[in-house]
Symmetry: C2
Subunit: 331 residues, 2 copies
DNA sequence: CTGAAAGCGCTAACAC
DNA sequence: GTGTTAGCGCTTTCAG
């Protein structure tokens, strides 16, 4: 920058003004500056700039996702990337893998990079530790799951209602023995979805068979093995509700291995890329990721811009998409 | 930091030393510093640090991918994220969407954030513009496609050989009329894969029917429509080689719509999440993303660490995985 | 409309 | 082992 000022015969401040598009700069000088910059191949150092800049803003936000390689997270990431770019922000992303420690580490790491705000699909069970950061001026938004012991903006799907709708759908096709597959109930979404399952039975006045509720498999292989055993047993269900995409995959693999994909009905929660190419097509409860992403980042950017109104909880509806597998009737 | 020094009764430099794990610090002072830091909730500002630090390194690398939402890119991203973290680096990622301008913009944006290096799955057709940045000390690595008019490290798959193997596989099952679906030949991988297709025919001494070669569809819908027309025509192929995952999806949708999935053989290039759940299972040529990711980032980190040996081209083999759809014989 | 001086938070270099 | 001084590249403040 000094060199640019020298070569263009101006001062540092004028160069700075040019690159910050301050309107009150003599067009002649501006031209000289730009020419000099081009010749020296000068690109301003944004990170140095934010050091002294008014509010210390870095125009960077951090995003903590479950696993950037999984379709749910990567779709969200892309939405964040685009909306952030529109607003002149850049995104730092990290994967949590359901690990609380990793959440803490990444929060610290990103704060050490001075992100203006952080969007978290939390793995942690307690977010009181963030209060100190909030006091230091970092803004937080939660996605997919609410914060615990902290008041902050959050965007959620209708996990409970969506699950209930899925199970009611199965019941409406005549199913009474419907298995539930879910994650560990410590996870908010898992808990909600399980309650939706139970609520559907309650509403239909059917007793829930607890031996058909499966939670917290250790691995996909273990899930598949358990499922295959279940399918072969006397107590085999006539339908299965898989409350999450990895579990849905496990169900499909198990059904495939047993050759039962046209016999046992399946509804899965969360999108799966090739759902309609399967036979039968896979009936799903889809989350509206575009809307979830949009709401969460826009709310966060609003906070960074100074909106200090009360914390907001926004809920985005899911959609049941019948594709075939959920419309199989019990034999 | 000043406050921490004050509260702990030491100097700035000692605080700095503590947070940079300099071993020659009196344990007593170190303790005082850490206590004060905790009390003040102090987290060092890395970006300020890198301003003055020896080499000006930011421990940040930029990654330019085709589209962070697609499985190919997001799988790579995750590998980069993990390996970068192991080495104390952080990753900035952006999507190119096959747009040259976007490539230029993001390179500039990331350089304005002073990344130490940049990994690019390029959309551009000319990378001479990067020479200036190379001279300024930014390091570059290319992934998936080579740079043009620039000497730089690159990691590629065996696109040509993998495609040839796929088509030979189809030929070995008795196919002679094999359609080729590819991207615009301006794209390196598309060109290579098409050559592999042609080479397989040459080797088998079968004449290529140019009316079975399809390139550069505008949209998935257009691809599906064209394919359905083709499948219904007199000149329908007995097998299809789709040289990229989105095209493979289009083929599957078209086959499904026509009810021909058990009649026409298909081999696809690139992985597809639910390949083995389809019926028939989908025969694929898989790229070794883990290896591609590992090699590319490790080479880049080596460059950042000062390795200035000649530019390296590394080639990672693909694997043909028969799953059913590629083993259908012509009727 | 422009420039000089001070300082953002930190680390290099050099004393002590 | 520790502290002081200068300065990274930029923006602020304030005087011209």
């Amino acid at each position: 920058m000094r060199e640019v000022a020298a070569l263009s015969g101006t001062s540092l401040k004028t160069v700075s003004r040019v690159f910050n598009s301050v309107p009150t700069v003599d067009p002649v000088l501006k031209d000289q500056v730009l020419k000099a910059a081009k010749r020296l191949n000068y690109i301003p150092n944004m990170t140095a700039g934010s050091l002294r800049r008014a509010n210390g803003k870095t125009n960077t936000i951090g995003i903590l996702l479950e696993d950037t390689a999984n379709p749910f997270s990567s779709a969200l990431y892309r939405i964040y990337e685009d909306i952030a770019a529109e607003h002149g922000y850049i995104v730092l992303a990290g994967s949590l893998d359901e690990d609380q420690n990793r959440e803490h580490e990444l929060v610290n790491l990103f704060i050490s990079r001075r992100v203006d705000g952080l969007l978290i699909a939390p793995s942690g069970k307690d977010h009181a530790y963030l209060k100190r950061e909030v006091r230091n001026g970092v803004h937080f938004g939660f996605v997919d799951r609410p914060p615990i012991n902290l008041s902050a903006d959050v965007v959620l799907s209708t996990n409970r209602e969506g699950s209930q709708e899925a199970v009611e759908h199965l019941i409406s096709f005549g199913h009474k023995r419907i298995a539930y597959l879910g994650d560990n109930p410590g996870i908010y979404t898992a808990q909600e979805r399980c309650e939706g399952y139970v609520a559907a039975f309650k509403k239909a006045k059917i007793t829930v068979d607890p031996t058909l509720i499966f939670k917290g498999f250790e691995s996909e292989d273990q899930a598949i093995t358990s499922l295959r055993n279940l399918m072969r047993s006397e107590k085999a269900p006539t339908a299965i509700f898989a409350s999450q995409n990895l579990l849905t995959m496990a169900v499909l693999r198990a059904l495939h291995a047993e050759g039962l994909e046209h016999k046992i009905a399946v509804v899965g929660f969360d999108d799966l890329p090739a759902a309609e190419l399967l036979s039968p097509g896979l009936t799903l409860v889809k989350q509206n990721l575009a809307e979830i992403g949009r709401l969460s980042i826009q709310t966060l950017l609003g906070r960074i811009d100074g909106d200090s109104s009360k914390s907001l909880t926004q809920v985005v509806p899911t959609t049941l998409v019948p594709m075939g597998s959920g419309e199989i009737r019990p034999k």
